[in-house]
């Protein structure tokens, strides 16, 4: 007891002596994290290879590694040791969980767009996905214009159908849209010939194809319907925390480490099945690595 009491006195004294100036400045997430000694990281269970669980149920992935670096930077800034708590999130609950304070930093696969920026903030973009379609090679489909009168799959709760309708090549095409409740279901619709194409983010499609029974049967084809910057998400109006996140990512870019991470997760075999996604870096992401930005999707899709 005495030892602990003296230790805490010592720590208190140290705190008062070294950091009086910024102790007053602490606010928002940094304050919450320092007081609780815990930082809550929102993770996805199957967003390959950005954020998913390995065979030991541990979160791994490209965004998890980047987030771990951000947490290290937060520790350095606060000069405390933080416990990381992982909180699985879904695409339905991730934004409410961030706004209500359950999750401090969401490391999943969230598109940065204007509607979301009303609720939350995003770090600078670390990944870019293009909305395209996957088809069975045997169907010979290579463009939206060939889908007239054909069933096209997408996942409920996503906006791919509206994107298809809005695209110039899709304007005069009569789609028969069919919906899966999640991406695996939607892929099943294609696999069982209920749909001739499945429209979704191309990295997710690549993941589904890679893990399917016959990967060589499928091809990702067609026009890019939307360019979507994917970023790490945090609470809005918290500039101090966002600065740490942004600076960490800028540092990774400057040191070239981000490319190494990209190669590790997108261009090499990854656990648990040791398959290679073979997903080359898009031109948009290459540009963003030269000039980091947290602009929303609307910025890349100006009509």
């Amino acid at each position: 007891m005495i030892y602990r009491f003296r230790l805490s006195l010592f720590l208190l004294a140290g705190l008062l002596a070294t950091t009086p100036a910024f102790a007053q400045e602490l606010s928002g997430t940094l304050k919450k994290v320092k007081e609780s000694g815990t930082i809550v990281m929102g993770i996805r269970e199957s967003s390959y290879p950005l954020s998913y669980l390995d065979d030991k149920q541990q979160p791994i992935g490209y965004h998890i590694e980047i987030c771990n670096k951000i947490v290290e930077a937060v520790k350095r800034e606060l000069e405390v040791n933080l416990k990381i708590q992982h909180q699985p999130v879904t695409s339905q609950n991730r934004i409410p969980l961030v706004t209500n304070g359950t999750v401090d930093i969401e490391c999943g696969s969230t598109t940065n767009n204007e509607a979301r920026q009303k609720q939350v903030a995003f770090a600078v973009t670390t990944f870019v996905t293009n909305v395209r379609m996957v088809v069975k090679k045997a169907s010979g489909i290579t463009s939206l214009s060939q889908l007239d009168g054909k069933p096209v799959a997408t996942t409920s709760g996503t906006t791919s159908v509206q994107l298809m309708r809005a695209h110039e090549k899709g304007k005069n095409v009569n789609f028969k849209e069919v919906y899966g409740k999640d991406h695996a279901d939607s892929f099943l619709l294609l696999e069982t010939d209920r749909a001739v194409a499945f429209v979704m983010d191309d990295n997710l499609l690549a993941g589904l194809v890679t893990s399917s029974k016959n990967p060589q049967e499928y091809a990702i084809v067609g026009e890019v319907l939307n360019i979507e910057p994917i970023a790490i998400m945090m609470r809005k109006d918290d500039p101090a925390f966002k600065k740490i996140a942004d600076d960490t990512i800028r540092g990774l870019i400057k040191s070239g480490e981000i490319e190494k991470l990209y190669n590790k997760w997108f261009l090499s075999p990854i656990p648990p099945k040791n398959v290679n996604m073979n997903f080359a870096m898009s031109e948009t992401l290459k540009g963003l690595i030269k000039n980091p930005s947290d602009a929303p999707a609307e910025f890349y899709n100006k009509k």
Binding site: I95, A115, Q119, P151, V178, Y179, D193, R235
Partner: protein
């Protein structure tokens, strides 16, 4: 909580297109009502037939009826939806299977309606059986003794009374049909829950969306409740079963 409230969101345009979010919810409500009412018709017809059969003296019919009820009662509704949608067509001949999967008009609606109808019919069958069995044995005997055939005894003596007895659980079942229809989103019926998920994703105003949808479901179930209460009142036989108010 730092939530950006926007109750005007329902009147705003969706991100890519000229519809409003309100029009999404209204079309979702339309499908919810369509699925619910259509499956309610199936459920009532089948439920009464099977429930009745389970009280007849024919042992094999009783067993068949029991098997039907247990089959549909013991499998979760969501799993049944997937079975009808993904599994059953795979057992059809190749051409028919492709037709069901690609060409059949309103295939999600038909599948969901049949599935929800059968599921609910098993529950109604159980209530009908209980209703008939709750009648004194003498009723059936008296009917037969008067020279009525067995079907006539059911038609003129047993079923009219059993129906009145089971109106309260039938009311719950009618309300359940509206609530259970939300499961149909999983096979892609564009009903209310589906539109709510879509609207939440598109607008990022999840709290407003789900509150609105909650109110709409409540209203549906409550209207169903009042309709049944009306039927209960109008069909009441004074002095019989429930005391007249």
């Amino acid at each position: 909580m730092k939530y950006h409230w926007n109750w005007g969101i329902f009147f705003e345009q969706i991100k890519y297109g000229d519809e409003t979010y309100l029009s999404w919810l209204i079309s979702g409500l339309g499908w919810t009502v369509a699925v619910s009412l259509a499956s309610w018709v199936i459920a009532l017809l089948l439920g009464f037939a099977i429930g009745t059969v389970r009280t007849t003296p024919r042992t094999w019919l009783v067993r068949l009826g029991n098997a039907y009820v247990e089959l549909f009662r013991n499998i979760p509704l969501l799993v049944q939806m997937f079975l009808w949608f993904f599994v059953v067509p795979e057992f059809l001949p190749r051409n028919l299977s492709l037709w069901v999967k690609q060409e059949m008009p309103a295939k999600e609606f038909v599948t969901a309606t049949v599935c929800l109808g059968l599921f609910t019919s098993a529950r109604i069958a159980e209530q009908v059986r209980a209703g008939i069995q709750s009648l004194p044995r003498g009723q059936r005997m008296a009917g037969l003794a008067m020279g009525l055939t067995l079907p006539q005894t059911y038609r003129y003596v047993l079923l009219p009374m059993a129906f009145r007895i089971i109106i309260p659980p039938l009311t719950s079942e009618f309300m359940n049909v509206f609530k259970n229809s939300s499961v149909a989103f999983a096979i892609g019926v564009l009903e209310l829950t589906f539109q709510a998920r879509q609207m939440q994703e598109d607008s990022e105003q999840g709290i407003e969306t789900y509150l609105a949808v909650t109110v709409l479901y409540f209203v549906c179930a409550f209207i169903a409740n009042r309709m049944m209460a009306f039927i209960e009142k109008r069909s009441r036989v004074p002095g019989y079963i429930a005391a007249a108010k």
